[in-house]
């Protein structure tokens, strides 16, 4: 009995285009509640596969026959097991999601954000499964990554396809919610790895300190990547202004929310910095800059082309986190009622510092679950 499969590219396409899908998630209820494939027009049924070992009778009447059904599990084995039984029961609209949530978590959807001067290009890599955003600036055979996530080869191969060599790998800060791919990219390509020095005090490997005002040029057409010290999420957090038009805000400012300062347990100390960055430093910048953050929270933030980004001027109008006049209220907002810490955030930080070097499988597990680093 062969079961039709659906790959995560297809699911990504349906998310971006707001297409229809019925998701039958056969993982544990806890896992499903914590984290699932999110789509505007998706419907869900969650029944663990071990309730279906005897047969699919418990769900037979709940699975639709007139639309595509994607069965998803952790890695793709149990979804195939359940899909097979559905096919045997006569369903011909059922697909098993290849690689399951593991593959979904690792899928990166490259979206071209802009053409830069002299043939340069700017790409955003949307990690739909976790809400992470990474960037690549390409210019004249050279490329730079910003906040590249763990799947380093995706960036290396993408640059290669574009005929470019990665020469710089920047991180806006020491990440606590996902494993950075910056170090691996640097090791594999010879690129320079940059990190703000205040976030790098415990770093166990070579890096170049990213100081405020640093201006790195990519390719001979000299697309400028300017560093702007903007602390608050971490003490070192630094933003980039690319080609005088794009503001990579890291985890400081998102489209519909702002960063939170507590990941290293220093919420109270960093609130002042966060306030200063959002209400002063960023305010001095041009309203016309397009803000390109390192995360997004819900699919509502996706633009029509699947990218995430908005003009700074519009954010100052619409983003609640930028419009809290009262300092005390702001302090309360970013220090109280915070969402739970990301899974394994301490281990993730230590991995990004080079203090521990878990196997790939272990790294995958550390990243399981949703992203939780912004406050509304």
């Amino acid at each position: 009995m062969s079961v039709k499969t659906m790959n995560v590219q297809e699911i990504a396409k349906r998310v971006v285009n707001n297409e229809d899908l019925f998701v039958l998630d056969v993982r544990n209820e806890d896992a499903f509640q914590d984290w699932k494939v999110e789509g505007e027009n998706f419907n869900y049924l969650n029944v663990p596969y071990f309730d279906l070992i005897e047969g699919i009778e418990p769900i037979q009447d709940q699975v639709p026959t007139d639309r595509d059904v994607a069965v998803v599990c952790a890695k793709g084995g149990s979804s195939e097991f359940v899909a097979e039984q559905l096919v045997e029961a006569g369903f011909d609209n059922v697909y098993s999601v290849e690689g399951g949530m593991k593959a979904w978590s690792e899928h990166l959807e490259p979206v071209k954000v802009a053409d830069l001067k002299d043939g340069g290009e700017l790409y955003q890599f949307v990690r739909l499964g976790k809400g992470c955003l990474s960037y690549m600036v390409i210019s004249d055979g050279e490329a730079a990554t910003i906040d590249a996530v763990r799947m380093a080869d995706v960036f290396i191969n993408f640059a290669e396809e574009k005929g470019a060599k990665i020469t710089h790998a920047f991180d806006t800060h020491l990440h606590a919610d996902h494993i950075s791919g910056g170090r691996e990219i640097a090791e594999k390509t010879g690129a320079t790895y940059w990190l703000p020095p205040k976030d790098a005090t415990e770093l166990q490997f070579d890096y170049k300190p990213l100081e405020d005002g640093e201006d790195v040029h990519i390719g001979s057409s000299k697309i400028s990547v300017q560093a702007l010290y903007s602390p608050g999420h971490t003490i070192g957090s630094t933003s980039f202004i690319v080609d005088d038009q794009y503001l990579m805000s890291g985890d400081i400012l998102f489209v519909d929310s702002i960063g939170r300062p507590d990941l290293a347990g220093l919420a109270d100390d960093w609130v002042g910095d966060l306030r200063e960055t959002l209400y002063k430093r960023y305010k001095e910048l041009s309203d016309e800059l397009i803000v390109l953050p390192a995360h997004y929270m819900t699919n509502d933030e996706l633009n029509e082309d699947g990218s995430v980004g908005k003009k700074l001027g519009e954010l100052y109008q619409d983003n609640h986190g930028l419009n809290v006049e009262d300092e005390q209220e702001f302090r309360r907002m970013v220090t109280e009622n915070l969402p739970p810490q990301p899974n394994a955030y301490q281990e993730i930080r230590e991995t990004n510092m080079g203090k521990i070097s878990p196997e790939t499988e272990k790294k995958r597990e550390m990243e399981i679950g949703p992203n939780r680093c912004a406050v509304k």
Partner: protein
């Protein structure tokens, strides 16, 4: 923790989800109620899944020991009647009464659950003699001691208390319900 006793072993190493649970479900059918099955698996997801599956199907998930990338899951098969309130031995105390005794007196706690159940959590200093072995090992206990017999729900300990009483033990008490609702100190080994 490496020598926790199991009555049956299922090798599910190298198998990916869903096979560890599918095989466990099949294997447990061949096992007598109340016996302990050890499932050895390498799939990390098997832990949460096995626990959730056991809870749904009424079996007792005891715990998991991870060693050299092998997850050793211990499950005790549900046994008929164990959850029923069927305790007839007349000398009995509740959990709180036992807790007070532990604070004050020098008393003996006899844990008659399977050794794997004991290994994953027991009252400090409790003596472990599974009910099935009690008749042969009764000489290990002192007839003059005040003995509190504990199991998971009060059922096996009821039978054990009766057995000890028949053997001439007079200061024997059944602890009801026992470990299922024990909120005092616990050791594991």
């Amino acid at each position: 923790m490496t020598d926790i006793k199991a009555d049956h072993v299922l090798d599910a190493k190298g198998l990916a989800c869903p096979m560890p649970i599918v095989k466990t479900r099949k294997e447990i059918e061949n096992i007598e109620g109340g016996k302990v099955l050890l499932v050895e698996a390498t799939d990390q997801g098997s832990k949460a899944d096995l626990k959730a599956w056991a809870e749904r199907s009424g079996h007792q998930y005891l715990g998991t020991v991870e060693e050299d990338d092998v997850l050793r899951h211990y499950v005790r098969k549900a046994s008929e009647g164990e959850t029923e309130e069927d305790v007839s031995f007349d000398q009995k105390v509740n959990n709180d009464e036992l807790k007070q005794k532990l604070d004050s007196d020098q008393v003996t706690v006899l844990d008659v659950r399977e050794s794997a159940e004991y290994a994953f959590g027991h009252i400090p200093n409790a003596i472990s003699i599974p009910f099935g072995e009690l008749e042969d090992r009764v000489s290990e206990l002192n007839q003059d001691d005040e003995i509190y017999v504990v199991c998971r729900t009060g059922n096996r300990s009821d039978m054990a208390a009766k057995l000890l009483s028949e053997k001439g033990f007079e200061n024997v008490y059944n602890v009801v319900p026992g470990m299922s609702e024990w909120d005092g100190d616990v050791n594991s080994q």
